[in-house]
């Protein structure tokens, strides 16, 4: 099979998984679990194979498939790997088996439906990253919401209905305006250039006046910013995270939040460069507000899931900052930060799930001295905490450091030219690192040290399955922290192309 064929297989494997699950006789939970894990592992193996085969010296799409879908409108089924999505696709495939394995003991109700929904969301997320056609992208983007709605709504906590409806209503509102913008963008491209196409490669040929660009960017940005989420559009996130089952939280924090930043990087900013340039100060301010505000809120939470939820808002603010810096190093840092956050926050949510399975409470106050009660658990927890704080040698350090470096590099010349805002914002963003250390260490301190306390004692330390899940994550965190070269090389050309696209004016009359 050709590499492009393998990529299609990677995309559609989860659907195959759903078909297999349907065939399993009801009540056979063990078989459902084993089958789900096997499908996810195969997907990971195939993705890893493509990741290795991915040539970092080639700009543009690799392993591309393009078939007409709705020929009359220029819609095609077009997928492929490029520097923008290769790491995120790898991340999605990497977390898949972990998500499945983490739910082995936690999910006992409607097991078949649960894994079918996990497959559905995996399929939609893969599709969103791989899509190279705006119509296809939108279909996957929106479709992602449905399995998540089920995951939170059926297997979530007490206020799950409220949380899941809120999640859908937020997400769908952003999407509906994006849909209007998509229709307008494609139609105006057709009107002005005669090209009827939804392909990303064709959409950058559009020439739009500044006011239209601004409106379209606003519509796209609203949708993406809700997903990231950027303050003040973040209020769905803590609810969704707190109520979601562990697997749902991991999917949400690990991959789905990156959809927003990926959307900005792949579509939002490159499609409307002039509007992006105009609104960079506002967007940058919002990014920094998210960093600081998210960190401050994380500092005062008593629900351990909420701490990580708010920390996600803070960490993704860095991604936005890196993307807006338009410095190669900052852009690459942003991509590394996306992957790093996926690993670290995903891992932390898994750990919260593990302790919740044992003690059935998420209140920080109920815990203490877990270092004595659960030594193995505590070691893993400490490692992930330090990665979240950004300790050198972990992935968290690489991402945040590069982003801040890029932001300073971009801000300094502006400062010399008399524009102090970027420099001031960057300086404020640095405080986020300190705040990050504060809230995570407060969390770890209360959790692991002090007088031993935990409901439902005696506690059993991690089993082999749990150790394996966390071991894999921790290994990945260190791998990305110690050897960021490989992944960064794969994104280098994409970062350059992103910078070039966002720096080129595309007002009417500008050269093609």
């Amino acid at each position: 099979m050709s590499d492009a064929g393998v990529l299609n297989l990677v995309l559609f494997l989860p659907l195959l998984g759903v078909a297999l699950l349907v065939a399993v006789p009801a009540g056979n939970g063990a078989l459902v679990r084993a089958l789900s894990l096997a499908v996810m592992v195969v997907q990971l193996a195939l993705t890893a194979w493509l990741y290795v085969r991915f040539d970092s010296r080639v700009a543009g799409l690799q392993f591309e498939t393009r078939l007409p879908w709705i020929a009359a409108w220029g819609v095609s089924y077009q997928i492929g790997l490029d520097g923008y999505n290769v790491l995120l696709v790898m991340l999605t495939a990497f977390l898949g088996p972990l998500v499945v394995a983490s739910a082995f003991t936690a999910i006992t109700k409607d097991v078949k439906l649960f894994y079918a929904m996990v497959f559905a969301v995996q399929f939609a997320m893969m599709g969103t990253f791989l899509a190279q056609d705006l119509f296809l992208f939108y279909v996957f983007w929106e479709a992602m919401m449905i399995p998540m709605f089920f995951l939170i709504g059926i297997w979530g906590g007490e206020r799950r209905i409220y949380a899941t409806i809120k999640f859908v209503l937020y997400t769908a509102f952003g999407s509906i305006l994006m849909l209007a913008a998509v229709i307008y963008l494609v139609w105006s491209l057709q009107k002005t250039t005669g090209i009827a196409s939804f392909a990303f490669a064709d959409l950058v040929k559009s020439r739009l006046p500044l006011d239209v660009q601004s409106l379209l960017l606003a519509a796209f940005a609203l949708s993406f910013a809700i997903k990231v989420p950027i303050v003040p559009l973040h209020t769905w996130l803590p609810d969704a995270h707190v109520e979601a089952p562990t697997a749902g939280s991991v999917i949400l924090a690990g991959v789905m939040l990156k959809m927003g930043t990926y959307g900005f990087m792949k579509l939002g900013f490159p499609l409307f460069p002039d509007a992006t340039h105009l609104y960079t100060p506002i967007l940058m301010t919002l990014a920094v507000v998210s960093i600081v505000y998210g960190a401050c809120l994380a500092l005062v939470q008593d629900d351990i899931k909420k701490i990580i939820a708010y920390s996600s808002i803070s960490h993704l603010g860095y991604v936005m900052l890196g993307l807006l810096s338009l410095e190669l190093i900052g852009i690459q840092g942003a991509v590394i930060q996306m992957v790093s956050h996926g690993l670290v926050a995903g891992g932390l949510f898994l750990m919260v799930g593990m302790i919740y399975e044992r003690c059935h409470t998420r209140e920080l106050r109920a815990y203490g001295g877990l270092a004595k009660l659960l030594p193995v658990y505590s070691v893993f927890f400490m490692v992930l905490t330090l990665a979240s704080v950004g300790l050198p040698t972990t992935s968290g350090f690489t991402g945040e450091f590069l982003v801040l470096l890029g932001a300073f590099r971009a801000a300094w010349p502006l400062h010399l030219a008399g524009d102090n805002l970027p420099l001031a914002l960057t300086a404020v963003a640095v405080t986020g690192v300190v705040l990050g250390a504060l809230y995570m260490l407060r969390f770890a301190l209360g959790f692991l040290y002090g007088a031993p306390a935990a409901p439902h004692q005696p506690l059993v330390d991690l089993g082999a399955r749990e150790k394996a899940i966390l071991g894999v994550i921790v290994a990945a965190v260190f791998a990305l922290g110690l050897f960021p070269d490989g992944p960064m090389q794969k994104t280098e050309l994409a970062a350059a192309s992103y910078r070039q696209l966002v720096s080129t004016s595309r007002l009417p009359g500008s050269p093609p």
């Binding site: 709705i70 819609v75 449905i146 209007a180 139609w187």
Partner: protein, 461 residues
């Protein structure tokens, strides 16, 4: 007029007529329900296939010039409307005792087909009435309770009002132009004189009433609720489709201009918003679908804002997706001892655990009706709003899309009720309905084809 053209062009109608005669004969002979059911099923299937085959053959003829004509496009929409009736028939098998249902259904279908070929106001009127009158009876059939009579009467009176408005408008047009041809309407759209304008407004309002556009919608929830499930499905799909397709035929190649443009945009927009808002508070699926269909009628009228060349395509594709998924939902609805109790949300609670298949089917239908991709309702919505935007009505398109956002909640609420709520205390399940389940599976298969090959279907419409 040559006999051959009369025979071929009206083949679907002739087949229906034949079926009606046979079914009446069966009824007179007292052969019972099973046979008339089979006759109706075979008739409608044959008529639908005949229309589709003629359409694919590229057949076009005008056997009665100026009154009745067929083109591949009209034959295709006839095939679609007739095909919608098949699941209705299948799901009705367990609901109706006598053979009247089959006879009335086929008569109504005859009218629905006639409307699609009408070239003059009298033919259109004939089709409209022939379609509507049996439905008034169908609402009451096999369903005797006081509220049904009230709802059917309301439906009848308001239907009569619509007819009167339609005839008044047509006669005004005849008065100003001396012609009863449908083409007169398209020309009157651009005419500045008040008589033409009054005629146009009367006719448009008549169709608003028939399609249940706010503020002429009040009959729909009552009628939908009063009818038994198959009849509700028939009203929501076949009748709605026939009316909307006739509207597209009526408007022909005319581009809308102010002030009619505002009328055709504002009331449907209001329908979208109000239909979606009111649907949130309904206690049963039938009432909810009634309000949802009010909103969907809004989207469909929106298609008139688009370029005339793309109207039929947009409306037909939308109706195809909308009709299939509505039928899917109604056919999948699990049986209960009492028809009234079948679709109450209280009784659908926790349905997934009692009847997972039905719950999944209904779930797919709800998501598609909400216009959420990848389900076919999304492509349909996209097509309509794309045309509206391409015609330059960006503001209306954005407002319509925001209106459609309001609809997401109540569709998801059905899923929430079925999947996420504690089980309802339903004493046992009703009899199994293999035929209806088969119908829902067929609809699902068709919907899936629409998901995978939307381009193929769009290219042929």
């Amino acid at each position: 007029m040559n006999a051959n053209a009369v025979l071929t062009a009206m083949l679907p109608e002739h087949l229906l007529l034949l079926g009606i005669v046979v079914a009446i004969g069966v009824e007179i002979a007292g052969q019972g329900r099973k046979l008339s059911f089979a006759v109706a099923l075979a008739t409608v299937a044959a008529a639908s296939i005949a229309a589709a085959l003629l359409a694919l053959d590229g057949y076009a003829a005008a056997p009665f010039a100026g009154q009745f004509s067929v083109t591949p496009a009209t034959l295709l929409v006839k095939a679609m409307v007739l095909a919608f009736a098949l699941p209705v028939l299948l799901m009705s098998r367990d609901d109706f005792e006598g053979g009247e249902f089959a006879i009335l259904l086929m008569s109504s279908l005859y009218g629905a087909c006639l409307m699609q070929s009408a070239d003059s106001f009298p033919t259109l009127f004939l089709g409209l009435e022939l379609m509507s009158l049996p439905v008034y009876v169908l609402v009451l059939l096999a369903y005797q309770r006081p509220q049904s009579a009230e709802a059917a009467l309301k439906y009848l009176v308001l239907g009569g009002t619509a007819t009167a408005m339609f005839l008044m408008g047509a006669s005004l047009l005849y008065g100003t132009t001396g012609s009863l041809s449908l083409g007169v309407f398209a020309r009157a759209l651009a005419a500045p004189d008040s008589l033409s304008r009054a005629a146009v407004v009367l006719i448009v309002l008549a169709f608003f009433l028939k399609a249940a556009i706010v503020p002429f919608h009040a009959w729909a929830p009552d009628a939908y609720e009063a009818a038994s499930v198959p009849v509700t499905a028939y009203m929501a799909t076949v009748v709605k489709a026939a009316v909307l397709l006739a509207v597209v035929r009526l408007f022909g190649g005319a581009t809308l201009t102010s002030p009619l443009l505002e009328l055709v945009a504002a009331l449907p927009l209001l329908s979208i918003v109000w239909g979606n808002l009111a649907a949130m508070r309904q206690p049963s699926l039938r009432r909810m679908i009634a309000y949802s269909s009010i909103a969907h009628a809004g989207y469909l009228f929106y298609a008139l804002l688009g370029d005339p060349a793309g109207r039929l395509q947009a409306v037909a594709f939308y109706l195809l997706a909308y009709g299939l998924l509505n039928l899917l939902a109604f056919a999948a609805l699990p049986a209960a001892a009492d028809d009234r109790e079948r679709d109450r949300f209280d009784n659908l609670r926790g349905l997934f655990h009692r009847a997972p298949f039905a719950a999944l089917m209904l779930g797919v239908a709800m998501l598609s009706l909400a216009g959420i991709p990848p389900f076919p309702g999304f492509v349909a919505k996209f097509l309509i709003f794309r045309n509206v935007m391409a015609a330059g009505h960006t503001t209306y398109a954005v407002l319509g899309l925001i209106g459609s956002y309001l609809g997401i909640y109540f569709y998801l609420r059905v899923i929430q009720v079925m999947f996420m709520s504690p089980d309802a205390a339903v004493a046992g399940s009703g009899p199994s309905r293999p035929v209806a389940v088969g119908a829902s599976l067929a609809c699902l298969a068709a919907a899936l084809l629409l998901v995978v090959f939307p381009g193929w279907v769009i290219a042929r419409m």
